[in-house]
Amino acid sequence: MTQDKEQGLAEVREKIKKLLVEELALEDWTVETIADDEILFGQGLELDSLDAVEIVVLLQRHFKVDIPDNEMGREIFYSVDTLARHVHKNLNPGDS
């Protein structure tokens, strides 16, 4: 993995954390307290299906990136990191 890719991925992670905190109004969390591999649903951030729909819309709106509506979507929604990797991959299709 190149340094540029790692840096790009880190930037996407930060943007996603900021979006989650601000747009989902996560009162108990800040960008700094969310770990890179924080789990989104059930544990970790303890998001629910209402948040899932909102995340889908946020990714479409801010990154023009879709989440596949299948098992792969479930894997992408596992953590901040898996979400960021999906977004980064779609923003940089030749960089995988």
């Binding site: 989902l24 109004a25 996560l26 009162e27 629910d48 299906s49 209402l50 948040d51 899932a52 729909v53 909102e54 889908v56 819309v57 479409q60 879709d66 989440i67 596949p68 509506d69 299948n70 098992e71 979507g73 479930r74």
Partner: protein, 316 residues
């Protein structure tokens, strides 16, 4: 012709392609009225042998007409079954290209204005009052693709009828059988300016909220509201009633605006929107009391604690 839930919550198929073919042939041979006559006979069969359907309809009749005796209630159930059968006949009449229906549409201009003001779509919240399939046809003038959130795998024949709607490929389906109950596709469709149609009086999974209707708490799916709130699009309640053999009244005038007041109050917000829908539905179905067909008893189990929105069910 329809599907119904068994004791485990799954939906048993009712009707098949042969049945549909038979109805189509009858319409061609004897016209609408002839087919309606056949419906009366077929519904006698359902009245005597389709226990679940009768129970669901009786749950409604009992609350709609609380003072009525048993025989009057049974007659009420029969009238509803017949009207449901007629709505299926009307659908095939339309699909077969044998004729059209006249519509009296209320609220059309406001919807057109909303769509004109934005390149995004809106959520249509329907119910089994009147004939939602025929109502979809009346929306053809809007020039927007309509996406129906449904389980097409329930009945292949029903899906076929959607594929040959008079407005061609403008009516499509989104399956609930995906990891987020079709919500991702719905959000995309709204973003593309399409209309997403969701059934408001039929629950498939555990994603429901209770609201008071006809004097008691009942269960309603809330996916339309969670989708609308996330995408910041309005919910248009779509209701219809058959007013004569070839004429329907379509009401699009009720628009529910959804915006969460705060994260911690999301459940309360959803309950408020669902109650608003239930109140509209109660009043409208009062105008057409024998035209609301329920696939299951929406009051059953509603007194239990409703699952908080966002925990389990189709949408998760």
């Amino acid at each position: 012709m329809t599907t119904r839930a068994d004791a485990t919550g799954r939906h048993r198929k009712r009707g098949n392609r042969l049945g549909f073919w038979f109805f189509k042939a009858t319409i061609r041979l004897f016209g609408l009225r002839g087919a309606y006559g056949l419906v009366h006979l077929v519904c006698l069969h359902y009245l005597f042998f389709d226990r679940q359907s009768v129970e669901a309809t009786m749950a409604y009749i009992r609350r709609r007409f609380p003072g009525r005796g048993y025989m009057a209630r049974i007659l009420g159930v029969y009238r509803i079954l017949v009207n449901q059968g007629k709505s299926l006949v009307d659908r095939y009449y339309l699909i077969s290209g044998l004729g059209t229906f006249e519509y009296e549409v209320q609220g059309y201009d406001e919807i057109k204005r909303i769509l004109k003001d934005s390149d995004k779509g809106l959520v249509l919240l329907t119910a089994h009052v009147g004939n939602w399939q025929v109502t979809m046809n009346s929306l053809g003038r809007l020039d927007n693709t309509v996406r129906l959130l449904m389980r097409p795998e329930d009945n292949a024949a029903v899906k076929e009828t959607l594929d040959v709607y008079p407005h061609g490929d403008k009516v499509k389906t989104i399956s609930t059988a995906s990891f987020m109950g079709g919500m991702i596709e719905c959000a995309k469709a709204l973003d593309n300016g399409e209309l997403v149609s969701i059934m408001g009086d039929r629950i498939y999974g555990a994603d429901w909220t209770t609201a008071r209707i006809l004097g008691a708490e009942a269960r309603f799916p809330h996916a339309a509201f969670t989708l609308a709130a996330a995408t910041e699009r309005p919910v248009v309640v779509v209701l219809s009633g058959k007013i004569s053999t070839k004429k329907y009244s379509v009401d699009l005038s009720h628009i529910i605006r959804t915006r969460y007041t705060s994260r911690k109050d999301r459940q309360k917000d959803i309950e408020k929107w669902v109650q608003e829908y239930a109140t509209i539905l109660e009043e409208y179905s009062g105008e057409y009391p024998y035209q609301w067909y329920l696939f299951h008893d929406i009051w059953a189990g509603a007194e239990r604690q409703a699952p908080p929105p966002g925990h389990g069910g189709d949408g998760s």
